[in-house]
Amino acid sequence: MSELRVRAGGLYTTVQDTGRFGHYHMGMPPSGAMDTYSAVVANMLVGNPDGAGVLEGTYIGPTLEFTDDRVVAVTGADVPVTLNDEPVEPWTAIRVRSGDVLGFAMIRAGCRAYVAVSGGIDVPVYLGSRSTYTLTGIGGHEGRKLADDESLPLGAADGPGPGGAAVPEDLRPDLTGTAQLRTVVGLCSYRLTEGGLASFLGTDWKVTKDADRVGYRLRGGTLDFTEREQPFGAGSDPANVVDLGYPIGSIQVPGGDEPIVLLNDAVTGGGYATIGTVISVDRDRIAQTKTGDAVRFDSVDLDTALAARRDRRERIERVRSRIAR
């Protein structure tokens, strides 16, 4: 069986695909690539199905050595990529052969880079997915991030592929500036005062160092809760509610001063008031923010959320047709 050698694991690199669904009711989040668009497009570039296993590198990417003829593509964060220490283009299908080494320099913008290899990262499928969920050590490569000096199995590729296909600039995400996160306000947003909600939407929030695949903690303002007699079973703190389900992308504000946006490895429920949900498309965007970056929440309705989802699907199909040409 062919393998991919991991010379260096990077800071936090995991195997991901489009996620593990149907287990949220027992407390298991979907995991999966945090930036769906970049992961799907990386697979497309190398001729894989959209849901093939890819590597998600965080901040510092891995160093990878190939052991046979493959096509590789790097998407996601804006980061210089090298092949045998020579710069190569991201968002482009690159032919590699045995002994070639793919490396990363420091990230310029964004946070997560995706590496797709033709044939896919072929770790065992667990509960329908190859995605890694590190909290309980499920899926991916031994349920954990990659370490130095180990190997990953690769699937069979349909020939080495032509290489050279590239995603046009206008179909690559813009990762500069403040991340605008379109958000459907609701759930338990009644817990905030009018001023609290206005402050939530009007603040430039900074990503703290507590920002990972479970969720992002933000700082930058203080939100006021309405006074009430706490309902039975909630607990006495004003941010407490009777424990309930947390949607992926939902935002909670324990203590009023540290909003938490839950992401792909979310805790699936708990007892802090949720005040809205980042739309699915913009989870791709927050996934590309890092400690110190600024984010803003823009209130949108469900129609806008659904339209954004259609737009992303159209963009993916445009990439597919450009690559096929």
Binding site: G27, T136, L187, G233, A234, V242, I248, G269, T274, L302
Partner: protein, 300 residues
């Protein structure tokens, strides 16, 4: 003793972005709210609607995860409203078939004590332990009093989640006898595996080590989560608790804790489990009588 019937407000329907519908049955916890959620989610599960990815009942609410490319969230909400008006409550003769399980707990254990001492700055009462604080604010003279209250009557699993296999348990006693505590002022970054925790009116066992906001009262020697599936009770599932399980938390001493731990480590531990059925309507009318029956079946 009988309890006053709780009337639920109209359900509140909310969109959790484009991929989730959240339905709040009541802001307050009650068995009535939980049973109403059970009625609607059972009915929804039977309909097998294309685009429904997951159905997640919670304590006094529920959530449905959808694929909006296949199912418009607005259409789902219409269907949920229809279900609320047709099957929104369990019929009086509804019989819940479930299991009752003995769950041993060592209260005031050294491991959660060590952890809680590290996070006093995030607690409402830094000078007391979590259990001392809970006893005081619930009007008990001693820690033993609050432990007796938690172990005298069984609990029902009203929600699974936070992390895989964590059971949220609500005690089968009238509201005025329920114990309530707030969650930590700020969540901890660490909780030992198998911690017996308490927040709001809910008792939990943490499946894995990790962050947590619940007060820490003790430790269970037996796991609720077993990724290796080496224990017989985990042969079919990495998570032991199921929705609607009835759990009896039983206080044990260090000797029994260590004996149970060694059974777990040898791979021979089995929970004491009995199949039971009861009518939720009867439980609401006379909880003490139903509890006596449940415990009688469990230790027969």
């Amino acid at each position: 003793m009988t309890t006053e019937k709780i009337q639920l407000p109209p359900a509140r329907y909310e969109y959790g972005g484009d991929e989730f519908v959240f339905v709040e049955l009541d802001q307050a916890m009650s068995l009535e709210a939980n049973f109403a959620g059970m009625a609607v989610t059972n009915a929804l599960r039977q309909e097998v609607i294309d685009g429904v990815v997951d159905i997640c009942p919670s304590n006094a609410s529920y959530m449905v995860q959808i694929d909006p490319d296949r199912l418009d969230p607005r259409e789902l909400v219409e269907e949920l409203r229809r279900l609320e008006s047709t099957v929104g409550t369990l019929p009086d003769d509804y019989v819940l078939k479930t299991r009752v399980v003995d769950v041993p707990v060592l209260f005031n254990d050294p491991w959660t004590h060590e952890t809680l001492m590290r996070f006093r700055d995030r607690h409402q009462d830094p000078d007391a332990t979590d259990l001392e604080y809970a006893a005081r604010i619930n009007g008990f003279d001693s820690v033993q009093g609050v432990v007796d209250a938690m172990t005298s009557a069984p609990w029902i699993v009203t929600m699974l989640g936070f992390v895989p296999g964590l059971p949220f348990c609500y005690q089968l006693v009238p509201r005025q006898r329920q114990i309530q505590v707030p969650k930590y002022v700020r969540p901890r970054t660490d909780t030992p595996e198998r911690t017996f925790g308490f927040g709001g009116a809910f008792a939990v066992v943490y499946p894995v080590r990790g962050a947590g906001g619940y007060q820490m009262f003790g430790m269970a020697p037996a796991p609720v989560f077993d990724l290796s599936q080496s224990l017989p009770d985990f042969a079919d599932d990495i998570c032991f608790p199921k929705a609607n399980d009835v759990l009896r938390y039983r206080a044990i001493d260090m000797a029994e804790f260590e004996a149970t731990r060694s059974e777990v480590e040898k791979g021979t531990f089995r929970y004491r489990i009995r199949e039971v059925e009861f009518e939720p309507a009867t439980l609401l009318a006379d909880p003490d009588a139903v509890n006596r029956e449940l415990l009688e079946v469990l230790y027969r």
